[in-house]
């Protein structure tokens, strides 16, 4: 049972290594989906929002984590 637990834990951590990162990526995909499906904008506009949104999410996530670790309050793990 430990092996199964480890397998599911590994699978979960593959996609949800950081809850906030996961949430913001899903929100970006959701925004792109709304732009493509629910507005009269061309689908490519939603695609560009998806691309630039994901790049921004990456950039901000790296900065946030670096700041968090540099803060004297946070313990390193």
């Amino acid at each position: 049972m430990n092996i199964l637990k480890d397998v599911f834990s590994e699978l979960f951590s593959m996609f949800v290594a950081d809850a906030r990162l996961t949430a913001t990526i899903l929100a970006t995909v959701g925004l792109a989906a709304v732009l493509i499906d629910a507005t009269s904008l061309p689908p490519l506009a939603g695609g560009l929002v998806l691309l630039l949104g994901c790049i921004a999410v990456l950039f901000l996530s790296v900065r946030r984590e670096a700041k968090r670790r540099a803060s004297p309050k946070s313990g390193s793990y």
Binding site: M14, P43, C54
Partner: protein
């Protein structure tokens, strides 16, 4: 006939990502072989490969049943979560925020852990060692399977991507058998950075196609996405390398 612009990124991503995963699994198998001999290491590895093969045989045909746009969307989103996660970690490592992955240190840690486990338990020592090899190969192998499916399934590139992954396994095994030590000189963070870039690019591409976006340039758009993610990752790593001033 396969086009290089289509197959190249899939094969390359599967090959590089598999090198990272196989090197990690190889370190644990080598720990087991060093402590308890090759028999439990090979039995554990063989059992894990059997389970992985069973997963592919059982789940593989189901992929054909899923509508293409849905498959692209689901795989694309999973790739974004996985790829951006890898790229974030690689950028943090490149920026010196978190320590680099060190196979020698992992080898020493796993050796100490397995030795303690063998001393603590009353069951057969070879059994515990074999289970350690089994778990390592199974867990890293699952990631390889996901990557192969993720970069290959959207455009019927499963076979080329699988060949990329198999080539990586063969290369790591060959070098590992010759070196007979942890493959600490593999530039893992550079590989992880590159793979994170490629998986993120695939993620945006498939998610967009799944949502109905017709990317200009078709598959060539992947290279543009990869270049943008590469620049973003390198810039982020460079920025966090400097001390961050906290404003009060």
């Amino acid at each position: 006939m396969l086009e290089w612009s289509t197959a190249g990124p899939a094969v390359g991503a599967a090959f590089l990502a598999s090198i990272v995963e196989v090197v990690e699994a190889f370190t644990i198998v080598l720990v087991v072989a060093t402590l308890r001999g090759w028999k439990p290491a090979m039995l554990g590895t063989g059992a894990a490969l059997f389970v992985l093969a069973a997963i592919v045989v059982i789940l593989g045909p189901l992929l054909d049943q899923v509508p293409l746009h849905l498959l692209q969307l689901v795989i694309g989103v999973l790739l974004l979560l996985f790829g951006i996660g890898w790229l974030r970690k690689a950028a943090l490592r490149a920026g010196g925020v978190i320590p680099l992955h060190d196979e020698d240190a992992i080898f020493a840690k796993e050796t100490a852990g397995l030795t303690a486990e063998v001393e603590r338990r009353q069951t057969s020592q070879d059994w515990i060692a074999g289970i350690a090899a089994f778990k390592a190969v199974l867990l890293e192998g699952l990631e390889v399977i996901f990557i192969v499916i993720a970069v290959g399934a959207g455009r019927g590139m499963l076979w080329p991507a699988s060949l990329g992954a198999l080539a990586a396994c063969a290369l790591v095994l060959l070098v590992g058998v010759i070196a007979h030590r942890p493959l600490a000189r593999v530039p893992e963070n550079t590989l992880k950075f590159g793979v994170g870039v490629m998986l993120s690019a695939f993620g945006v591409f498939w998610t967009g196609e799944g949502l109905g976006v017709d990317w200009p340039g078709q598959d060539l758009a992947l290279f543009v996405f990869a270049a943008l993610f590469l620049v973003a990752g390198l810039t982020a790593a460079r920025i966090v390398r400097k001390p961050i001033e906290v404003t009060v």
